[in-house]
Symmetry: C2
Subunit: 132 residues, 2 copies
Amino acid sequence: MKEKDWLEAIKWDANGLVPAVAQDADTKDILMLAWVNQESLMETLKSGNAVYWSRSRKRLWRKGEESGHAQRIVEIRLDCDGDALVFLVQQIGLACHTGRRSCFFQKLISDDGRVYWKTVDPVLKNPSEIYK
Amino acid sequence: MKEKDWLEAIKWDANGLVPAVAQDADTKDILMLAWVNQESLMETLKSGNAVYWSRSRKRLWRKGEESGHAQRIVEIRLDCDGDALVFLVQQIGLACHTGRRSCFFQKLISDDGRVYWKTVDPVLKNPSEIYK
């Protein structure tokens, strides 16, 4: 296998991105979903820390660069059709900028015909203490 | 909250889609990543079974409609910025069309400078027996 073949095995979308799901390697909780491009994935592999592509800021996003809440890579997986990744990680601190462990803290409730999103996970740290 | 507000809380992309990560509610293994539009998410809620939008076939994809390998919904979660979902599911049979439990069966190996994807999970059922 040629160098970079592993990158070419991935079916990048029209913007050169694929989604990466960060999963806690210990608890197996899903922490967040973000996006990677080739550059961020190469840096993830090289550095051993999750590096994403920020679609809003249009630049590399080294997870934890501001908060210190980095994600140490334990394992990287690719799916059957090559267009989605899983990062198994050791999460330092909290994954979510809201101060919660996981970004997926809103649960869909369907109650007597009423359907709504309910916040079900606690804030563990005040965001103002994370981003100083 | 008005009816359908829960759908409007989701930040649908330019194609009216968001990614949905299916996670085994028992083992917490990540089974697959697929896409949903409003129609498929409404049907998921109503039927209690995962319904995706097939981007390749451009139609609703009722998971298990051909294979019988449906996903019974246990819980639906939305992330902090409203553009990704997690489906916690009870997986009937296997999630992957290759006959594996999960679609994420390729592991990134970095070995003495050589980087490649290695298939690490077993085929549990011959695909020809799943799709008759």
